[in-house]
């Protein structure tokens, strides 16, 4: 590589770096339309906070409450079955079958909780996308 070629390459790298910094600093130009990204994010901030509060605010306490109730019921069931086994209404094999069934019922409950969490995330995604689209449209079509 000649000295000129090296200088040329360095100059190009410098120009790219300056261009990148400019892009990151304030605005972005696409299809001839300038969008102030920082301004856009600032304008969305309050609404993003509201989405998070609305969707996640009661979620954790609801989830914990639900799990607590489920576990309390499960313990109650095992107590009843154990009493019935002692009283001769259930055989040991029947008792084991019921406790096994309870663990699978718990598995189904856990899957429901996982699904509910996914639905919450999906709702947040939809709300953020709607907000993003409406915010960008407000800039493009004032």
């Amino acid at each position: 590589m000649t000295l000129d070629e090296k200088a040329c390459r360095d100059l190009k790298a410098l120009a790219d770096a300056v261009e990148r910094t400019e892009w990151e600093r304030s605005s972005e130009v696409h299809m001839g339309v300038s969008i102030d990204i920082e301004g856009l994010i600032d304008s969305m901030k309050a609404q993003l906070r509201e989405i998070a509060r609305r969707e996640l605010g009661g979620y954790v306490s609801r989830l914990l409450g639900d799990v607590k109730v489920f576990i309390a019921e499960a313990i109650g069931d095992v107590r009843v079955w154990a009493g019935q086994m002692v009283g001769g209404q259930l055989s040991q094999a029947e008792f084991s079958f019921l406790v096994g069934g309870l663990t699978y019922r718990m598995a189904l409950h856990a899957i429901t909780q996982a699904g509910t969490a996914l639905v919450t995330l999906q709702r947040i995604r939809n709300a953020v996308i709607d907000l993003l689209i409406s915010s960008v449209l407000k800039i493009l079509v004032p």
């Binding site: 993003l48 259930l90 096994g100 069934g101 899957i111 429901t112 995330l121 999906q122 953020v128």
Partner: protein, 133 residues
């Protein structure tokens, strides 16, 4: 930094997907739940007396599982149905298999516990379906 946060958030959120709520799936689950409840009540009798009802209930539950399996982004509901109908697990599939292998009826105390587990399991399937958007 803030921009990166939004990008990461959107990227993460875009990875999440779950099938939309399906009234047909809810109907399958509620129908099979009612049929299961009726059959469990009759399980004080030997299974031969209800052989046709057992075959029919198994068929209906398998159809519901296949319906769930055929839908996109429906892995969680499909897994729930798989657990419910699996003969090696102690819910509907396991109970029907036990009844047939035992060749006699069960005590009311046992059936009451079985009912609680199986119907509670169906409630979870229905709850997940109803939670979907």
């Amino acid at each position: 930094m803030r921009r990166h946060f939004v990008y990461v958030f959107l990227l993460l959120a875009s990875c999440v997907s779950i099938a939309p709520q399906d009234p047909v799936a809810i109907k399958h689950a509620t129908d099979v739940r009612v049929e299961a409840e009726m059959l469990i009540d009759r399980a004080i009798d030997p299974p031969e007396k209800h052989a046709q009802a057992i075959v029919f209930l198994r068929l209906r539950a398998k159809q519901a599982h296949e319906y769930a399996k055929a839908k996109n982004d429906n892995a969680l509901s499909t897994k729930q149905w798989a657990i419910m109908i699996d003969e090696r697990r102690n819910l509907l599939g396991g109970f029907l298999a036990l009844w047939e292998s035992k060749k006699q009826g069960f005590s009311p105390a046992f059936l009451s516990g079985v009912k609680k587990n199986i119907l509670g399991g169906f409630d979870e399937i229905i709850k997940l379906e109803k939670a979907k958007l």
